[in-house]
């Protein structure tokens, strides 16, 4: 049962929110990891280079410091400390080369790849090279000798294999990546928990609704966080409206059935009586009564069908251009022709000019027709029924950003009006008021007229307003947006 429902009514769905959140979070964290990883890579490279370049610089400076002029020759006395500094990176091999002015070889490894440095800035120059089958880092440093015979630049190249440097780089890199990965794992786990907790109330709502009987429309009583409370409230409101609609439909069906049965049995009773009537006079009176009853039944059936029609069209119609003045005049001409035999007066005022709206002609015609019928029905013998086309004001409960123009159709009569307290009620199908009035006034009616107008206006995103006129009369205002 549940499965069938799920298949039949499955809504377009966009995958698991939980999974989506986790996947997005995961991707975001991966991007973070990548960016931080690149950052750490650069940092580790810099840090390891910097620290070991300092060893090279220190050793180079110590050697340069030992370079002296002695009786016209350059003397180099490699200090023990120089190698001691380099031996701090214990497992790295060490090479050096010292050249005098003009590149003259003094001591060290003669074939150490030494770059030509023409800068003579005094700041060390670092570069990588291959030497004896291993990659080495080389620092070049210079010192200017001022003594006459040896005047010129002495260059010291100190080189070291890159083992310790690479190790430090790896250590920093792995350490940082390890911590990063841990943090990201924690973040993912945290996200997982947070999402599960955040979505928990939704699951609770689902379980609660699944568990219910189809007829159970009582409000949900689940404790939910602030963010989910509006959803529960909306569901509750929706269920309340559903309940109300169900109630209305029940009442509608009961009323319709009752009225149709009553009318049918009245007509049936008159027909039965007519069989026993003796005189022609009696029979013609009977036929008039049968006619009345039949008319009521006819009207009732028409209105029920009309109501069904406009409700159906409200869901399905394609908007078309409606020339309002034309439509109203058309309706009025028809109505005047139908009531030519009565003393009811009809009037038409156009204050809005030529107005075209988008809508459904058939529905709108039915709405106005029903209002006119109501006006005639509930009014006195010498009723004055007036239709007006007025430039509309923007109704109260329209969103602020709605800047459409509005137009209003007024239908006035000189009937008793509707007490203010019952005006809202009157707009519903088979409203009690409608029934009561119908009984009071002994007129043919079903109370569906206003409901039909109401349904049509709803389909046109319009509003319907009832106003009592002074001293007597009712004005029904149909407010329509001009599209």
């Amino acid at each position: 049962m549940l499965t069938t429902d799920t298949i039949l009514f499955s809504s377009p769905h966009s995958g698991s929110l939980h999974r989506q959140l986790i996947i997005r979070m995961f991707l975001l964290l991966m991007v973070t990891l990548l960016v931080l990883g690149i950052g750490v890579w650069i940092y580790a490279q810099r840090a390891s280079d910097l620290s070991h370049d300092r060893l090279l610089t220190g050793a180079g400076l110590a050697i340069l410091d030992s370079v002296r002029e002695q009786s016209g020759r350059i003397e180099v006395d490699i200090p023990y400390a120089a190698m001691g500094i380099l031996a701090l990176a214990r497992d790295d091999k060490v090479y050096y080369r010292i050249t005098g002015p003009g590149g003259r070889y003094l001591t060290g490894y003669p074939d150490l790849p030494v770059r030509d440095v023409e800068t003579h800035t005094g700041t060390p120059v670092f570069y990588n090279a291959e030497y004896k089958g291993e990659s080495v880092r080389i620092a070049l440093q210079e010192k200017f000798l001022t003594e006459q015979n040896v005047r010129g630049w002495v260059t010291v190249a100190v080189a070291q294999t890159t083992q310790a440097r690479t190790e430090l780089f790896r250590e920093i890199m792995l350490g940082a990546l390890g911590i990063l990965s841990l943090v990201i794992l924690l973040a993912l786990a945290g996200t997982w928990v947070a999402i599960s907790r955040a979505l928990g109330p939704l699951y609770a709502i689902r379980r609660e609704i699944q568990r219910r009987e189809p007829t159970d429309l009582t409000p949900l009583t689940i404790e939910t966080p602030d963010e989910v409370t509006p959803l529960v409230e909306t569901i509750n409101m929706f269920m309340r409206r559903l309940q109300e609609n169900l109630d209305t439909i029940k009442m509608f069906i009961a009323n319709a059935a009752h009225q149709i049965r009553t009318s049918l049995s009245t007509v049936q009773a008159q027909i039965n009586l007519a069989q026993h009537d003796q005189t022609l006079e009696q029979l013609s009176q009977r036929i008039m009564k049968i006619n009345d009853g039949h008319q009521r039944l006819n009207r009732l059936t028409n209105q029920l069908l009309t109501h069904a029609l406009v409700t159906h069209r409200a869901d399905t119609f394609q908007p078309e251009s409606i020339h309002l003045t034309g439509l109203l005049q058309d309706i009025l001409v028809q109505t005047v022709r139908d009531h030519a035999h009565t003393s009811v007066e009809f009037g038409f005022h156009n204050e809005a000019g030529d107005i075209t709206i988008a809508g459904d002609t058939i529905s709108l015609r039915e709405a106005v027709n029903n209002l006119l019928h109501n006006a005639i029905k509930y009014g006195p013998e010498n009723n004055q029924v007036t239709i007006q086309l007025q430039p509309g004001r923007v109704p109260e409960n329209v969103p602020a950003d709605d800047d459409r123009q509005w137009v209003e159709i007024w239908v006035d009569d000189e009937g008793p009006g509707i007490p203010k307290d019952f005006q809202l009620e009157a707009l519903k199908r088979f409203s009690r008021l409608g029934e009561k009035q119908a009984q009071e006034h002994q007129v043919l009616g079903s109370g569906l007229g206003l409901a039909i107008a109401c349904a049509v206006l709803e389909a046109h995103e319009g509003r319907i307003v009832l106003e009592n006129l002074h001293p007597v009369g009712l004005r029904v205002r149909l407010c329509l947006p001009v599209k």
């Binding site: 180099v76 490699i78 790295d92 091999k93 060290g108 291993e134």
Partner: protein, 359 residues
């Protein structure tokens, strides 16, 4: 296990036999030759090699003996190989730690790692390429009978004092390495220079008493035994300890202020024909078996503290008060191998020891 009797498997079996034979034949016929180039007395290392031969009978160990300087010059390509046409060395052993370090620094070694190399102390293992396997103190040797009424120079400082105050007693009767000739002598002299601020004065004093210079520890010990010398300065402790076993009139002093400790260094040559067997030999050198042989028979003081024997560290520590200063295997050993540094050091040494000859 079941025997399969179809033709295919029988043919396979024959093939297996043929291949096994092919695999065996070369190793049986041309047995593996492991070539050692070494600057160690053959007599001292012989018991270790014999033990190795007993354990691995298939391996022929070719042992070529060198002076430490010559060994370096041969490997560095500065001198001709004395055995041209023979295979290149697989394992190089020398007491000249600085020269060995230089050869490794210049890329002549290949790395090797085993549980034995891992258990070495830091100072005796450089880059898993150079390994120290002995623990040989640098000592003073003296004639006990001649020092009966003389104060013993039990430290470098004391020796310096005594050489000045007692110059007559020592005159022409003290011997030490000639650092010009001996690689290990140069190593000891430079290590003295690094460690002691008194070294200049000590050298000067040695010069004043006309110290005699030798190529090798054995020659100094011979002259001591013959009575030509009263004291030998900076001798290889291992050889000296072995000598006093046979000559009770000789004594050994481990200087109290500091006792240098030299470790014989072995490394596997980069172009070794038998690097695998060289590794096996190296492990054997570091194994308790070989270290015990060194401690009991060969007179090479083993590095392992758990080795047992007359020449074990335990035995030495028991007899002498010690403040060991092991010479660490690291790049600092390269300092005094610098061309200019070496020339300067040798000149200063000569100026001090042979001061009168320059006059």
């Amino acid at each position: 296990m079941t025997f399969m009797t179809d033709r295919k498997s029988i043919r396979g079996f024959y093939l297996w036999i043929v291949f096994s034979l092919l695999g065996c034949v070369p190793s049986l016929a041309g047995a593996v030759t492991l070539t050692l180039y070494s600057a160690t007395d053959r007599a001292a290392i012989q018991p270790v090699i014999e033990a190795f031969n007993r354990k691995y009978p298939g391996i022929v160990v070719r042992y070529e003996e060198f002076q430490s300087n010559t060994l370096y010059r041969v490997l560095a390509g500065e001198a001709d190989d004395p055995t041209p046409g023979q295979p290149q060395p697989d394992l190089i052993i020398s007491s000249a730690m600085d020269l060995q370090t230089k050869l490794v620094n210049d890329g002549q070694a290949q790395p090797y790692q085993s549980e034995y190399t891992d258990s070495l102390p830091d100072w005796a293992n450089w880059r898993n390429e150079a390994f120290g396997f002995t623990f040989e103190p640098v000592v003073f040797a003296y004639r006990k009978d001649l020092f009966v009424d003389q104060p013993l120079p039990d430290s470098h400082e004391r020796l310096t004092e005594l050489l000045r105050s007692n110059s007559k007693f020592y005159s022409n009767r003290i011997g030490t390495y000639n650092v010009n000739i001996s690689g290990v002598g140069y190593l000891f002299a430079t290590q003295d220079a690094i460690r002691s601020s008194l070294n200049g004065r000590l050298l000067e004093s040695l010069g004043r008493v006309h110290a005699k210079t030798y190529c090798c520890t054995d020659d100094i010990l011979r002259d001591l035994t013959d009575g030509k010398l009263v004291l030998g300065y900076n001798l290889l402790g291992s050889y000296a300890l072995a000598r006093i076993r046979e000559h009770p009139e000789l004594g050994v002093l481990l200087p109290k202020d500091y006792t240098l400790v030299m470790s014989r260094v072995a490394f596997i040559h980069k172009l070794a024909k038998e690097p695998g067997w060289a590794g096996v030999f190296l492990d054997f050198l570091l194994s308790p078996e070989a270290q015990n042989i060194m401690a009991s028979q060969s007179g090479l003081v083993p590095l392992r503290t758990d080795a047992e024997g007359t020449y074990s560290r335990a035995a030495i520590d028991e007899k002498y008060s010690t403040s060991y200063q092991p010479i660490g295997l690291k790049p600092t050993l390269l300092v005094y191998l610098d061309r200019l540094k070496r020339a300067r050091f040798l000149k200063e040494w000569r100026d001090a020891i042979f001061f009168d000859e320059a006059l």
